[in-house]
């Protein structure tokens, strides 16, 4: 089965985790990852030189603009409104998961995650929406 090349934007304030997510997702050569360290940077990266990802992976607890706020803002932007988004969080209580889904996310990746399986997980979430 031919797998699509997917562009992914990962937004997290924790530099270490950004690195690990980049490396983990990089295990799937068809995933191309860009990272941003805050909601503000994500807003800048998106649409710069016409680049838009197929999927966004957004940390929830970030200083300044939270993941929820970022997604709400992106949903208002015509060019980003339809990009599927996954939240990434270290406090995945079941009520909160529902809150994230209600906010428009297609799913939640809970931290800590298995770095060797992260790429597959993200891909499955994406295919769940597109397929």
């Amino acid at each position: 089965m031919v797998r699509d090349v997917l562009n992914i934007l990962y937004v997290d304030d924790e530099a270490d985790i950004r690195t690990i997510v980049e490396l983990s997702l990089g295990l799937d050569p068809d995933l191309i990852v860009k990272v941003a360290d805050s909601g503000m940077e994500a807003m800048e990266v998106l649409g710069r030189d016409g680049w838009l990802p197929d999927l966004m992976l957004i940390d929830v607890m970030m200083p300044g603009m939270t993941g929820m706020e970022l997604l709400a803002t992106l949903r208002q932007r015509p060019d980003t409104a339809a990009i599927p988004a996954l939240f990434c969080t270290a406090s995945a209580r079941s009520t909160e998961v529902q809150r994230y889904i209600d906010a428009g996310a297609i799913g939640v990746v809970s931290k800590p995650f298995d770095p060797l399986r992260l790429a597959g997980l993200v891909r499955r979430h994406y295919e769940g929406v597109k397929g």
Binding site: E14, D16, I17, I20, V21, L23, S24, L27, M61, A90, S91, R93, S94, T95, K111, P112, F113, D114, P115, L116
Partner: protein, 841 residues
């Protein structure tokens, strides 16, 4: 502290008892006095008797003396002729009548014998005087010789002798009488003396007793008063020094007393709040009506004696969170309430801090752990550069421990959430076979590491429970990881998930060393871990089993373990089976596990359908030809048939008519799947009673709706069974066995069975014989008298009975696990017959 008795149990002194005791003492004294008096009377009578005896003697002596005086005077005159000698004679003759009369009177009460002597004496005395007068007359007229001749004749002497004889006889009597009377008198005197002594002793005794009782009564009262004083002093000390605020409330809800702690807590002085409604400070009984009713006081005490969080209003207008424990204090003027308040503002603050802390742990601890585990995982996998074996080992150690830290954090959070009731459960109907299979898959790696084999052979039928799949996977995972970690290398851990006694039982059996003795009774408590060499290499958090127990309990189940005969331990947990709530009409969810027939030639489409049903715990059979379909319908009962109309190559009507032509296909709900043209114009297929038409490509939602409609149709078509049975287990098991086959309602006694029959047309009845209010056979014999058709009856009872000859009884089955299939078969047979009758085949 002595428990105080309720007021009605304290005996009050009774007036009648006091009066009885007060009356008894004078009564005893009067009796003694009367007794003594009667003794004195008897003594007096003895004295009187003696006196009378002497009187009689004197009277006799006086009579004799008169006669002798008369004789002396007579002789003097006869000898001398001197008339002066006649004076004593004359006096005696005059007096003798009176003396004789006196003797008569005194002897009137004597015995007949004595009275005989007396009457002879009375006859002799006049004769003596007549003889003496005769002598006197002879002396006077004829001289002394004539008189001497008469005397010499001896008549006078003889009379005198006779008199003496009579007197002597009387005296003998009299002496005997006197001796007897005197002896009686002595005896009476002696008796009287004793009686007197006894009487005095009794009076003294009574006086002593009375004195003792008075003393005892006063002493008891004194002791009781001292005790009451001590008791009250103790209570006062407790009341006054208690840290908790204590308020005593009367039956109308007003404050009677409060302790200093209450004054401090509420900021009011006790006097200020006296007789004020308790709601002034804390509204412990909101609502309308009498205070005790609002408080929820019933015959079994208070419905809710402890209330963990209520707002209290203090004097300066602040609100303080308090908890309150309510106690009952029955007093003579009604039920009083003791309310003990605790200030929980500190605790609330700590709760908030703890929540914050947990949130911090959750996020701040997991974030660095994410980096560590992620880095180590990538390193170990050798993704970027290959490591030396030693480095790889070290990385594995680091990764394992980081993972362990994550588990500890997760377990701590879970345990906390379960304890505080904050754990949220996403409840849904789930198949426990999937749960166990999921856990087995998740633990495969651990099992491999420990060289332990996992064996799980799921049964053929779904085991449905209502639960949170993730949490139950966690429970099985906990049990499984323990079993793996404690099992010796090369052993096997066996899992099962099966219906068991109306519940679902999941079992995890290992061949490990068993549970150490000291751990057995607290293995499900927090941080209960086996210590020692055998466990040094297999550390856990000590929370897994406690979490498992809490999760299972939340599902209405219970968890336990037992030793295996061949060594090792089996941990089991039971959960209520889903959809077998007795007495309810079988619901959509309860039909999970039923079969669907799929008639399709396109294998990939059929596969998609099969998966769709399987993911909802429903079974399917796929057939490709009409004869196969008919054979399948004949063999088992399907909830619905899903037919690809294209399959029939445009001859769908012929296909459906064939299905409708066999008894078991007559009422089978059919879902037809066709391309859009056919769906928009079904034509003559409309007459074939199809539940729903679906257009290709199939959409999940529409298929769901169609299946729900088919189930509703099937349920409508199901017979209504009334199961009359008082044993909840039998009801459970039977309802499970019949789910999908019938709507089963139950009645646990004859009365409710009759009420049910009054209201519903029952198709089949299952009746137990021994019921709490009579025999099930009575109910059966009443059936023919009821309106409407008489339902066939199956006697399903533990006792053997002669019920088979009752006309309405279809079958008699003895309750047992083995007879359950017979019961189901009998019902299927009845249902088929009823179907045929209904359709007039």
């Amino acid at each position: 502290m002595a428990a105080s008795l309720p007021a009605e149990h304290r005996p009050a002194p009774r007036l009648w008892r006091v009066l009885a005791i007060a009356a008894l003492i004078p009564l005893a004294l009067i009796t003694i006095a009367l007794w003594l008096t009667s003794n004195f009377d008897s003594l007096l009578k003895g004295q009187h008797d003696i006196e009378q005896a002497y009187r009689r003697e004197i009277a006799i002596a006086a009579l004799i003396s008169e006669i002798k005086d008369a004789e002396t005077g007579q002789r003097g005159y006869v000898i001398t002729g001197n008339p002066s000698f006649l004076a004593p004679y004359m006096d005696a003759r005059e007096r003798v009548g009176a003396k004789m009369a006196q003797v008569d009177r005194l002897f009137a009460t004597q015995s007949a014998d004595v009275r005989g002597h007396v009457s002879r004496l009375r006859a002799l005395v006049p004769r003596k005087f007549v003889e003496m007068q005769l002598v006197l007359d002879a002396r006077e007229s004829r001289g002394v010789d004539a008189a001497a001749a008469i005397v010499a004749a001896g008549n006078g002497k003889r009379l005198m002798d006779d008199i003496r004889t009579e007197v002597a006889a009387i005296e003998v009597h009299q002496n005997g009488d006197l001796a007897r009377v005197v002896a009686q008198g002595i005896a009476r005197t002696e008796y009287g003396r004793r009686a007197y002594l006894i009487g005095v002793s009794l009076v003294t005794l009574i006086a002593f007793l009375a004195a003792y009782f008075i003393w005892h009564g006063r002493r008891s009262r004194y002791v009781a008063m001292q005790e009451a004083l001590n008791h009250s002093a103790r209570q006062d000390a407790i009341f006054n020094s208690a840290i908790n605020a204590i308020v005593l409330i009367n039956p109308s809800g007003s404050i009677e007393i409060m302790n200093p702690a209450a004054e401090r807590l509420f900021g009011h002085s006790a006097t200020h709040l006296l007789r004020r409604d308790i709601a002034t400070i804390v509204n412990i009984a909101p609502g309308e009506g009498p205070f005790l009713d609002r408080l929820g006081l019933g015959p079994n005490g208070l419905a809710e004696p402890f209330r963990p969080l209520l707002p209290a209003r203090t004097a300066n207008g602040e609100t303080v969170p308090v908890e309150v424990a309510l106690g009952l204090m029955p007093l003579e003027d009604g039920m009083h309430i003791v309310a003990v308040f605790g200030d929980v503002s500190e605790r609330e603050k700590v709760e908030r801090i703890k929540d914050q802390f947990l949130s911090t742990v959750s996020h701040e601890l997991r974030t660095p752990l994410t980096s560590i585990v992620g880095s180590l995982g990538l390193l170990r996998a050798g993704t970027f550069e290959s490591l030396s074996d030693q480095s790889k080992r070290l990385v594995t150690i680091a990764e394992n421990n980081a993972n362990r830290l994550i588990r500890i954090v997760n377990d701590l959070l879970d345990a906390e959430k379960l304890q505080s009731g904050e754990m949220e459960f996403a409840m849904a109907p789930i198949d426990m076979r999937d749960v166990v299979a999921g856990s087995v898959e998740g633990m495969g790696g651990l099992a491999e590491t420990h060289g332990v084999t996992l064996r799980f052979e799921p049964g053929p039928d779904p085991v449905m429970v209502h639960g949170d799949s993730d949490r139950l996977v966690q429970v099985v995972g906990n049990l499984l990881s323990n079993a793996i970690k404690f099992s010796p290398k090369g052993e096997e851990v066996v899992l099962s998930a099966l219906p068991y006694g109306g519940r679902c039982r999941v079992a995890v059996a290992d061949r490990a060393g068993g549970i150490p003795l000291e751990l057995r009774d607290r293995i499900f408590t927090r941080f209960a871990q086996a210590t020692g060499a055998s466990t040094a290499s297999t550390p856990g958090t000590g929370l897994g089993l406690s979490i498992s127990r809490d999760i299972v309990r939340h599902h209405g189940g219970n968890i336990g373990f037992q030793d295996n005969d061949e060594g090792g331990t089996t941990f089991t947990f039971d959960l209520p089976l889903h959809g077998v709530t007795p007495g309810t009409t079988t619901s959509f969810d309860g039909l999970n596990g039923q079969s669907y027939l799929i008639l399709y030639t396109n294998k990939s489409e059929a596969g998609w359908l099969t998966e769709w049903f399987a993911s909802r715990s429903m079974k399917t059979d796929v057939v490709e030809t009409i004869p196969e379909a008919l054979a399948a319908i004949h063999q088992r009962r399907y909830m619905a048939m899903i037919v690809d109309v294209q399959f029939a190559d445009g001859d769908a009507p012929a296909l459906l008519q064939t299905v409708r032509g066999v008894p078991s296909g007559r009422a089978l709900p059919v879902i037809a799947i066709a391309n859009e043209t056919l769906v928009s114009d079904p034509g003559d297929l409309a007459a074939l009673d199809i539940v729903d038409w679906l257009a290709k490509p199939l959409a999940t939602e529409q298929l769901g709706d169609a299946v729900a409609a088919a189930i509703a149709r099937a349920a409508m078509d199901m017979p209504l069974i009334l199961h009359v049975e008082d044993d909840p287990d039998t009801l459970d098991i039977t309802a499970t066995a019949l789910s999908g086959l019938a709507r089963v309602s139950h009645a646990t006694n004859l009365a409710s069975a009759r009420a049910f029959l009054d209201n519903f047309q029952v198709d089949i009845m299952i009746v137990d014989i021994a019921l709490p209010d009579g025999s099930g056979l009575d109910l059966v014999s009443e059936l023919s008298a009821r309106d409407g058709p008489t339902p066939p009856v199956i006697i399903y009872s533990a006792q053997d009975c002669g019920a088979s000859d009752v006309r309405e009884v279809e079958a008699v089955l003895t309750k047992s696990k083995r007879s359950l299939p017979n019961l189901v078969d009998t019902i299927v047979a009845i249902r088929d017959r009823q179907d045929r009758e209904k359709h007039g085949a």
